[in-house]
């Protein structure tokens, strides 16, 4: 049996205290960081933040312009179809749900299910594209375009910019679908898949701010 040393040097005592202090401080910290992980790639999150900032400038600009041209904006909004906006909101929210379900299936390693859920998400997103194109055509037929007035300049700029983000998101989802269908995600890091999913949710997040600003308020 090992006996305890009868004499502990001051240095050893100091070291012991440091070790105890260290472990007491780092253990909760380690636990905290072990349990929490940012989904996706860090670079994608910086890209998402940049996109959110650009849209924030658009939204604030729209609100300020409305306050400066109240009558013009009321007349302009009356020419839009609130039902078209509502259909697009439901389409993007539902599409986002299927992408979230696909991410869950991804972690369950159900590659085929992931592919099918992503296909459904894209088919629902097509509803958004069709409705938006119909809305643009309806306005063009009524003789309204980007140069009609400040309201329609901002309306076309913001919604077309968002439309392009939806298109890019659909390309990303398509690539994810092909990769999942071919089983190329098996035993691979989830980071790429999560990044694509988060981008799609960002597109949805932007629309839920855009919708009340342009169609409801």
């Amino acid at each position: 049996m090992q006996t305890q040393p009868s004499f502990i040097s001051p240095e050893a005592l100091k070291e012991e205290v440091i070790v105890i202090k260290d472990s007491a401080q780092t253990k909760p910290l380690l636990k905290k960081f072990k349990d929490k992980k940012l989904p996706g790639d860090l670079a994608m999150w910086f890209f998402i933040l940049a996109e959110l900032t650009a849209f924030a400038a658009f939204f604030i600009g729209f609100a300020v312009a409305e306050q400066l041209n109240v009558d013009m904006f009321i007349t302009g909004k009356a020419k839009l179809h609130p039902i078209a906006g509502l259909i697009n909101t439901v389409a993007l929210i539902t599409s986002s749900l299927f992408v979230a379900l696909a991410l869950r299936a991804f972690h369950l390693k159900k590659q085929r299910e992931v592919a099918w859920l992503l296909i459904i998400a894209q088919l629902i997103a097509v509803i958004y594209l069709v409705v938006k194109v119909w809305e643009y055509q309806f306005l063009f037929a009524a003789g309204i375009d980007i140069e009609t007035n400040t309201f329609f300049t901002l309306y076309f700029l913001i919604t077309a910019f968002h439309f392009m983000h939806v298109l890019l998101g659909m390309v990303i989802l398509m690539l994810m679908t092909i990769k999942a269908y071919k089983g190329r995600y098996l035993n691979k890091s989830a980071s790429g898949f999560e990044s694509g999913a988060c981008y799609w949710h960002m597109v949805d997040l932007l629309w839920i701010i855009l919708f009340p600003l342009i169609y409801v308020i």
């Binding site: 929490k36 609100a63 306050q67 991410l103 869950r104 972690h107 997040l205 839920i208 409801v216």
Partner: protein, 99 residues
């Protein structure tokens, strides 16, 4: 050896939400959308309608970032960055409309 989770996640990975939680969140998002449309259609008081519609934006944004983006289990600085966005931006817009 303890029973392994079907998700097979180790401690370094975050937990994903259940199917039930995702569906509940989706229903909440649809309900908030419907409420904001009803508020916009039938409310005549601008001072009440604008904060109510923008509060719905905050609720929806919270659901999307926390549940769909899975930021609820992400490091809190990232989570709150998105939550601040969906809170501060509608608040600024409301201030522009109301003051």
């Amino acid at each position: 050896m303890g029973k392994q989770s079907p998700l097979n996640l180790n401690k370094t990975e975050y937990r994903v939400h259940t199917k039930k939680q995702l569906l509940f969140s989706w229903l909440l998002l649809l309900l908030c959308t419907l409420i904001s449309v009803v508020i916009g259609e039938f409310s005549f008081d601008k001072n009440l309608m604008i904060p109510a519609a923008l509060f719905m934006v905050f609720l929806k944004g919270q659901q999307i970032s926390d549940i769909f983006m899975e930021l609820k289990n992400a490091p809190k600085n990232w989570r709150f960055l998105l939550l601040y966005y969906v809170f501060i931006l509608p608040a600024v817009i409301a201030a522009i409309y109301l003051f």
